[in-house]
């Protein structure tokens, strides 16, 4: 059973909602597993959907020109960590 922090869990729910991943239980998303191209099979348009939902919820923009983008989008853990650092809401 993957253990998520509270922030990771909240983000997992946001992702599942935003992408309408009916068959995915947010609790079951491994924080360290790849978000894109892995079991979840998310693509770059899903990434945009996530970015839009994140901007609405946390009042911050995920930027296309962020030098760490590859790491930020690598896993639930990395994305959550980045959001917690930069969020304004």
């Amino acid at each position: 059973m993957p253990t998520q922090t509270a922030a990771e869990h909240e983000l997992a729910i946001l992702i599942v909602d935003a992408l309408n991943l009916e068959t995915v239980d947010p609790m079951q998303i491994d924080p360290q597993a790849p978000l894109f191209g892995g079991d979840l099979g998310l693509d770059s348009i899903d990434a945009l959907e996530i970015a839009l939902a994140v901007s609405k919820r946390y009042g911050m923009q995920l930027r296309s020109d962020h030098p760490d983008n590859q790491r930020i989008f690598s896993s639930l853990h990395a994305l959550s960590e980045h959001i917690e650092r930069e969020r304004t809401v």
Partner: protein, 315 residues
Amino acid sequence: MSAHWQEQREGGSRASLGLLIHAALRCGRGFILFCLYPITLYYFLKRGAERRASRDYLTRLFGRPATVWQVLKHLHCFAVTMADRIYLLAHGERDFDIEVQGLDQLQQCIAQGRGVLLVGSHQGSFEVLRALSARCPEVQLRVLLDKQKTPAITELLESLAPEVGEAVIDVSRGGAAITLAVAEACRAGSMVALLADRGRAHETLRKVDFLQQPAPFPIGPWLLANTLQVPVVLCFGMYRGGRRYALSFELFAERVEIPRDGRDRAIDDVLRRYAQRLEHYARLEPYNWFNFYDFWQQDEAQPVAMVRANTVSEA
């Protein structure tokens, strides 16, 4: 087996392309257009795949076997528009007579300030659009392009107009950065142009009728339009012979809506409408179709699957 277009090699080495560009600017368009006759003949003789693709397309379009002359004319038309890219990048619209249709529709969309998605195809010349966009520098034009597809041509052409290269969103980088960049450009009220007729390898494709037979089209551009919720305007820059180009804009949708329920049907409706417009322009300017590969993927053994994969297309 039909080779995927992404495996087709770029015609000409970097050195010879550089020489061609240099010669084109030194000697002028008239001389280059003359040179394109033997060059076209050379390609006709050497490049079997392109020759067969041209004949196949023209035969479908005209409803009777295409002649050698028609295939040559087709390849020549492509060569002219490629050469004209040099002049359009170096001198803008100066040397050309560009007739524009539907500009008011585009301007109305721009005025909404939400950004505009300009969707084209590999028909005619998209360079005409870039040349024309210089008329209104206050609205930026970003172009989605795979710089790795034709690296030598891209690099050499960009050296003619560096600002054009900077406005490109390079699809070959892949990942979230691309879609985020498109969304940012739209938020800034810019135009983002992409070509939606060729599917890249591993991209999700769906088949709809084009010239009476199902052909695979990428669904990524339309999913992107659905997510962005910005106006979509179709854009075609057709070569009409001599120095004449016709640039057409037509509003495709104020918003593309692809609901979660009935997603496939909604996508197919959109693809069908898009394919019909391609067909319209193909009949208008038959020799402007520049997909020189088996567009219908007739030899494809397995059916086009609905897999979630890399879904952003390139221009």
